[in-house]
Amino acid sequence: MAMATSKSTAMEGRAWNARFPLSRSTTISCLSVLLFFVVWQVAPELGLVNGRFTSQPTKVAAAALEVFASDDFFYHARISLTEFVLGFALALVVSVPLGALLGTSKHARYILDPPLMALYIAPTLVLLPIMVIWLGIGMASKVAVVFLGVIFPIIVNTMAGMREADPRLIRAARSFGASRLDIFTRILVPGSLPSILMGVRLAVGRGVLGVVVGELYVSQVGVGHQLMTYGSSMRIDRLLVYALVISVFGYTLTSLVRLLESRVRNWRTE
């Protein structure tokens, strides 16, 4: 009970720690995942659900081995990764300077804010079909969708970071005769780095989404294409392998950026 008076919880915690090596919450988390896998494995065997639609953990594990060994997995993965990296890199090149401009110039902000906010809020993925008309069904349209998905969170967060720069620091720098450029490179950029990285972290998820949606929509290669193939041929086990690979990729990248973010924060406070 979270809200009971502190007196009872302290005692419970002590008794628990004495008996089990893992913390209570970790134990429960593990049990809950275990239960999920057991139900997933057993339910089709008992005829509770149709295994054709749900597959089973053991089947997915076996399918994973097949997929990695053959199935041109690394070819598809490389294509998708390239689309992701290109779109993301292009977006970084455009969005950070643009965000900086918006963060430091009131007029630029007034002018660009309405269209930017509209695109930040609105699902940019709806532009996918038109990108396909403009750029064809190959990699270029996916790169464009990643670019469009990623660019707005980075702009908005860069802008916020620049605006939150400590005015006292700027005043102090001015008093030492710092130029506008000095203030920008020595105060604004380092000061807003954590905020920029936060934008990048939020953008990772959107970028991955862009690649998958783009490839699901229309493609001849890539992990999204494989998802569609196995979905329509009802190979749920292989479908899940690809879905899991994408999830792990998204999770790993997000965690890395988060790590970098906390590094930068710590380094700033030192």
Binding site: M1, V33, F53, Y110, P114, L125, P129, I130, M234
Partner: protein, 256 residues
């Protein structure tokens, strides 16, 4: 007088001008023959097409179809997200049990499971609602959880001193104290639910704004696509603004 008026509404004036400029530029590059209207259409043509689609009822039909899925998905996500968030926020054991799945949900692009949903539910509204529901669920759950969990300890103690029971504390302290952050979660959920609906409609639907985009894309009818795209962007802005407004209302008691 004019300058003062301008200065006070500078943001509004410049913002409007910028939107107008975008429209004029759009028209100009096509009129000057720089870009083939086949690719980007023109504001005039889009405006006219919007009138046509409005008159023959297709626009309204598509908007209603998308809104129907959107409302279902958002209601489901709000029910489940707030329900689970309250449960997990109040009982640490429930939070521990749910956490691995939420953690997975955070990192997995829901859309990767789209073919699975099609296998289960077929093409059409159920799959669209399921995808949009999953899109919107996470922020609603996460915000509710943190709202209930971070209930102000001083307030809990004060309530205890008057003999409050756990249910009193839940209903009169934790729940009302979480309203603003839950509404903020709903605001994020609105944008995501709309994305979910439109994306799922792109892939398979028989009506809706996403469907209309995909349908006209196959026929390479850019003007007709543009109508739906603009309406979706407008819808996203309007719906989010409505929730922002609600957020401000429910948040008014916070120290400014």
């Amino acid at each position: 007088m004019m300058t003062e008026l301008y200065r006070r509404h500078e943001a509004l004036v410049l913002g409007t001008l910028s939107l107008l400029t975008i429209g004029i530029l759009w028209q100009a590059v096509v009129s000057a023959g720089l870009i083939n209207p086949f690719f980007i259409s023109t504001p005039g043509a889009v405006f006219k097409e919007m009138g046509v689609q409005f008159a023959d009822g297709t626009l309204v039909e598509n908007i209603l179809a998308s809104l129907h899925s959107f409302v279902l998905a958002l209601a489901l996500a709000a029910g489940v997200g707030i329900g689970l968030g309250v449960l997990a926020g109040w009982f640490p054991d429930a939070e521990a049990a749910l956490e691995p799945f939420i953690w997975f949900k955070y990192s997995a692009p829901t859309i990767a499971f789209y073919p699975l949903f099609v296998a289960w539910l077929g093409y059409g509204t159920p799959t669209i609602v399921a995808i949009a529901f999953l899109f919107a669920l996470t922020p609603i759950y996460a915000n509710t959880l943190s709202g209930i969990k971070n209930v102000d300890r001083d307030l809990v103690r004060a309530a205890h001193s008057f003999g409050a029971r756990p249910l009193d504390i839940f209903l009169r302290v934790a729940l009302p104290g979480s309203v603003p952050i839950v509404v903020a979660g709903l605001r994020l959920g609105v944008g995501r639910a709309l994305t979910g609906v439109v994306v799922a409609e792109l892939f398979g639907a028989s009506a809706g704004l996403g469907y209309s985009i995909a349908y006209h894309a196959q026929l390479l009818q850019t003007t007709k696509m543009m109508v739906s795209i603009l309406v979706i962007i407008l819808l996203g802005v309007v719906l989010t603004q409505m929730l922002s407004w609600l957020e401000k209302k429910t948040d008014s008691w916070r120290v400014p």
